[in-house]
Amino acid sequence: MSDKTGVLTKEASGPAPVAKPASGSYLVEVSLKPDFTDAEGLSAQWLLQCAGLPAHAVRVGRLYDLRGPLNLGHVHVAVRELLCDCVTQEFRICHSAGTAPHNGCLWRVEVWLKPTVTDIVGESVCEALRDLGMPQVAVRCGMSYHIAGKCGRNQLDKAVARSLANPIVHHFSLNEAH
């Protein structure tokens, strides 16, 4: 995904905001609340270390790229009813596919299946949203990794290609977090 910005909300619970006109494209990021041990993050950290990257800490998030005649109200319903367990997880909703600064992380990596690869989780989310009475949308799913560790872009690029992404089926982006 290309660099994009525009965080709209970040919250774990509370009433949904007033729906804005449909803009057609939202990125939802769901991750564990900081209080919980992130087992996937530990696993990713180990994989990166095996690939030669001395990552101090990794937090993992799930990305959902929703495209279609949606408004923010729809997206909040989708997140609360389907994509996020608000007891253990928190979420952020961005306009379009965005990468935003993430406190305490030096790097943010997004890994997505290439458009030509069938995204079965995305298909399942589509069906579930339809069952929730939502308008028909296209959904692609990806992973985000917030990586703390001193490394250069080239080093990280190589390590991610060897551990968190397979360039045969994935494309990924690296962004320095502020």
Binding site: L47, K114, T116, I120, S124, R162
Partner: protein, 826 residues
């Protein structure tokens, strides 16, 4: 969701083929990745010259798929001129003269379908049958381990769903061969590290099996650095079906109905790679499985099967619709209209629809009167169907798109037109390695700990715990056993009551595996026999009825164009034949994966070790009497059944202490106490099937009478490893006396007695009250009491000189066994 279809009828792409020069044929073949040889290309050329027209691309692709090694098993069915080092003879068809021959000769009435359906099918009681299939998915798993393994599991599950009129999967198995996860040698550009392959493959098998609700309860793992560029992934499935559903037939007039997932540009092989029009064409070779779609397809299939709404079914595997419809229509003919297929994307060319390997699709032969009910049954499970055409009696495969002919081939040419190419094979037995004095000064305790921590022996709990082996509630003997549910097991035992719906029927079945490529490096013939022997003993140890056992073979080999490789393959196939005949156990299904070699960093071809997996299936009359391998209490006798000989070739002992040879025992200076097996024979273990079978029958009778508390087969690491595993799994110690080990020829080495890997041996725990009856049951069989179980958690071994040669705390032994894989994984 609307169905995208190809917008307009497209003119099929024809290929100027008839007048091509042989060199141009080869160039075209390479460009499209058809993997046809020149004789095959010339045969196709001659066929179309007779027809006086050019072939379409779809026709050439169909022929390439149908004539591929994957579909036609050309190496196993073509003539081979074989030199065994003494004389040369012609093998007309390796498969016919070895594996098929044994099965035909044994002619077991309970073998209901062998080598002709998608899976082998055997009877399971009067009402039911079991379908069993094991397949490999090696190349996709090397490129994209997660997706490759997922689709491997999905494919073999569909094979069982397409066996007979469809079986309900009740067990998944997985066997992997990888390079060590801490491999630190060079890898060529683009090759994934073995650790990553291991992680991805395990995740793929886990996610697909778990999401389908099928227990993954059996398997194995083998490490060898020579698998670093060609990992092997064997996926197996056992399914249950009623006996009436074993036979399938297709009648002219039946409708061709596709069900399940939609057709996309997934898994197109050669032609796709060459298509400049497709962005990221390489991706299409990789498929991502969709377990939930397959689950819906399975549930719908079972509803339709039980309502008898179709007459035939098969899955779309390699070649997609082309091979599925081509196989079902082989005896009659088919007319297919591709525009009726449900598509993922609208821009597919007709040949792409025809050859796509999109996952989770099956093809049915549905009588027209049943179509409405059939479609309703599938719709009730949210599963899409599409009528693609009908079966005919023309003997032709006729495929159109929008009224335009895409494929028009004679079924006889398609299925019987393949020219057979004779290959050369040479087998030269290895000369003994030069004799050298061993340098190791390890104690028996150190060697035993290293054996237990060896990657090919150590605990697989890290993998097993990721799989759901309990789903369906019928896993009686689980992959991890013992008082803490973390010890090894010999075989899994499944009680398919959820599938039969009859909890008062206590019949179950056991599945085991035999695999040891290290023996194959010395002699593939002995490897085959040893694998069959081990698989049978594993079944025996859990209480299965081996008189009703059935084998499956899976050969993974390097290029058969190399006469030495093919010679080894012939040796292994002959070993399979002799094992089947010797043990009276038929092969019911099999598969081969050849050309497993890739250029390494030095530019040379790195071939995998010749690998044969023998999987075995047998009924367990009463699952309540199934046996586990952990020691059950103190004060019980330990009996070793079977002869021990100096057979350390390919053994763990040689891998740990260095390979030694020469035939004479060497005692290096400075060693005392235990003798050193320096001169121990480097031959791989031999199997005397006659003695072994007599032993197994006696053992089975003893087990049936309930005379045994626990049983464990001796394989890698021999008696030492087997005894240690039984002890730490049950948390009782044992005292062994090596002087009591049954042997025909004198053995003067504690190491040989403790670590020899002679075949056909089992260690039993027998209570004092049952000893007399046990010995009576085993009269005439090589069996001796070699020790006693004790409460003290220590394994103690007395050497030939009467002194204690080994004394190890069980916690140390278990730690060595348990911590090895996690440590190597980092």
């Amino acid at each position: 969701m609307p169905t995208p279809t190809a917008a307009l009828p497209q003119t099929p792409e024809t290929v100027a083929f008839r007048s091509l020069h042989p060199q141009d044929l080869k160039t075209l073949n390479a460009r499209h990745g058809w993997s046809l040889n020149l004789a095959e290309l010339v045969a196709i050329q001659a066929h179309f010259q007779t027809l006086k027209r050019e072939p379409t691309l779809a026709e050439l692709e169909t022929l390439a798929q149908t004539w591929s090694e994957h579909c036609k098993h050309k190496t196993f069915t073509s003539p081979i001129r074989y030199n065994d080092g003494k004389k040369t003879r012609l093998i007309k068809s390796l498969i016919e003269e070895t594996i098929f021959k044994a099965t035909k000769q044994l002619n077991r009435p309970w073998c209901l379908s062998v080598f002709k359906d998608n899976a082998g099918i055997v009877a399971f009681g009067p009402k039911w049958a079991l379908a069993f299939k094991v397949e490999t998915h090696n190349h996709p798993s090397a490129i994209e381990p997660y997706g490759g393994a997922e689709t491997g599991v999905g494919g073999v599950i569909r094979d069982v769903m397409g066996a007979g009129l469809g079986a309900k999967p009740v067990l998944n198995t997985d066997v992997f061969c990888f390079a060590p996860p801490d491999y630190d040698g060079p890898l060529p550009e683009g090759a994934l590290h073995p650790r990553r392959v291991l992680n991805g493959v395990v995740s793929g098998v886990r996610d697909y099996g778990n999401r389908m609700g099928i227990p993954t309860a059996g398997g194995g793992l083998w490490f060898d650095p020579d698998y670093r560029l060609n990992p092997l992934v064997f996926c197996g499935t056992v399914g249950l079906l009623p006996v009436w559903a074993v036979r399938k037939e297709v009648k002219a007039g039946d409708l061709i109905v596709a069900a399940g997932g939609r057709t996309g540009r997934d898994g197109l092989h050669g032609a796709t790679f060459s298509s400049a029009a497709l962005e990221g064409a390489q991706l299409s070779a990789v498929q991502i499985g969709h377990a939930l779609n397959e689950k819906k397809l399975l549930d719908a299939l079972l509803i339709a099967r039980d309502k008898k709404l179709y007459r035939g079914v098969t899955d779309c595997g390699a070649g997609g619709f082309s091979s599925a419809i081509g196989e079902l229509a082989a005896e009659c003919g088919a007319r297919v209209r591709l525009e009726a297929a449900r598509l993922k994307v609208s821009d597919l060319a007709p040949w792409e629809i025809w050859l796509s390997e999109s996952q989770e699709r099956m093809v049915f032969a549905v009588p027209p009167r049943s179509l409405k009910a059939f479609a309703e049954a599938f719709a009730s499970e949210a599963c899409e169907t599409a009528v693609l055409g009908e079966f005919t009696s023309t003997g032709r495969l006729e495929v159109t798109h929008g009224g335009t002919s895409v494929v028009d081939l004679d079924m006889r040419f398609l299925h019987d037109g393949l020219p057979r190419q004779e290959r050369s094979a040479v087998w030269a037995s290895q000369k003994p390695a030069p004799s050298k004095a061993p340098t190791h000064k390890k104690s028996l305790a150190q060697i035993l700990e290293e054996c237990l921590g060896h990657l090919n022996v150590c605990s697989r709990e890290w993998i097993v715990r990721q799989y759901d082996h309990e789903v369906q509630g019928g896993t009686v003997i689980k992959p991890l056993q013992g008082i803490r549910h973390d010890g090894p097991g010999d075989a899994c035992v499944i009680w398919p009551h959820a599938a039969t719906g009859n909890p008062s029927d206590h019949q179950g079945f056991a599945v085991s595996h035999g695999l040891n490529p290290a023996y194959g490096k010395i002699d593939p013939y002995r490897m085959a026999l040893a694998c069959a022997d081990e698989a049978l003993r594993n079944l025996l140890c859990v209480g299965a009825d081996i008189s009703r056992a059935a084998f499956l073979d899976n050969f993974c080999w390097a290029s058969p164009d190399d006469p030495a490789q093919l010679g080894a393959l012939v040796r292994a196939a002959e070993g399979c034949r002799d094992a089947a005949l010797g043990f009276g156990v038929p092969f019911i299904s099999g598969k081969d994966s050849l050309f497993n070699q890739t250029r390494d960093v030095s530019g040379k071809d790195l071939a995998i070790p010749g690998t044969l997996l023998i999987s075995a299936l047998a009924p367990v009359a009463d699952i309540r009497k199934a046996l586990t391998m952990d020691i059950k209490g103190p004060g019980n006798a330990l009996y070793l059944v079977g002869w021990t000989a100096e057979e350390l070739g390919g053994s763990l002992f040689h891998q740990i202490c260095g390979r030694c040879a020469g035939g004479k025992e060497v005692r290096p200076a400075g060693t005392s106490g235990t003798s050193i097996a320096a001169g121990a024979s480097c031959t791989a273990p031999a199997v005397d099937t006659r003695t072994a079978l007599a032993t197994f029958k006696a053992v089975q009778a003893a087990l049936a009478k309930g005379l045994v508390l626990s049983a464990h087969d001796l394989s890698d690491g021999g008696l030492g490893v087997a005894a240690a595993e039984m002890c730490f799994t049950g948390e009782f110690g044992a005292s062994l006396d090596l002087d009591e080990v049954p042997r025909r020829a004198p053995i003067y080495s504690d190491e040989v007695l403790l670590f020899s890997e002679s075949a056909s041996r089992i260690l039993f725990e027998v209570s004092p009250e049952q000893e007399a009856a046990f010995l009576k049951a085993l009269r005439g069989v090589p069996a001796k009491r070699v020790g006693t179980t004790v409460a003290n958690p220590v394994l103690k071994v007395a050497g030939l000189d009467g002194r204690i040669a080994l004394e190890s705390a069980l916690c140390d032994l278990k730690s060595a066994w348990q911590l090895s894989l996690p440590r190597r994984l980092g």
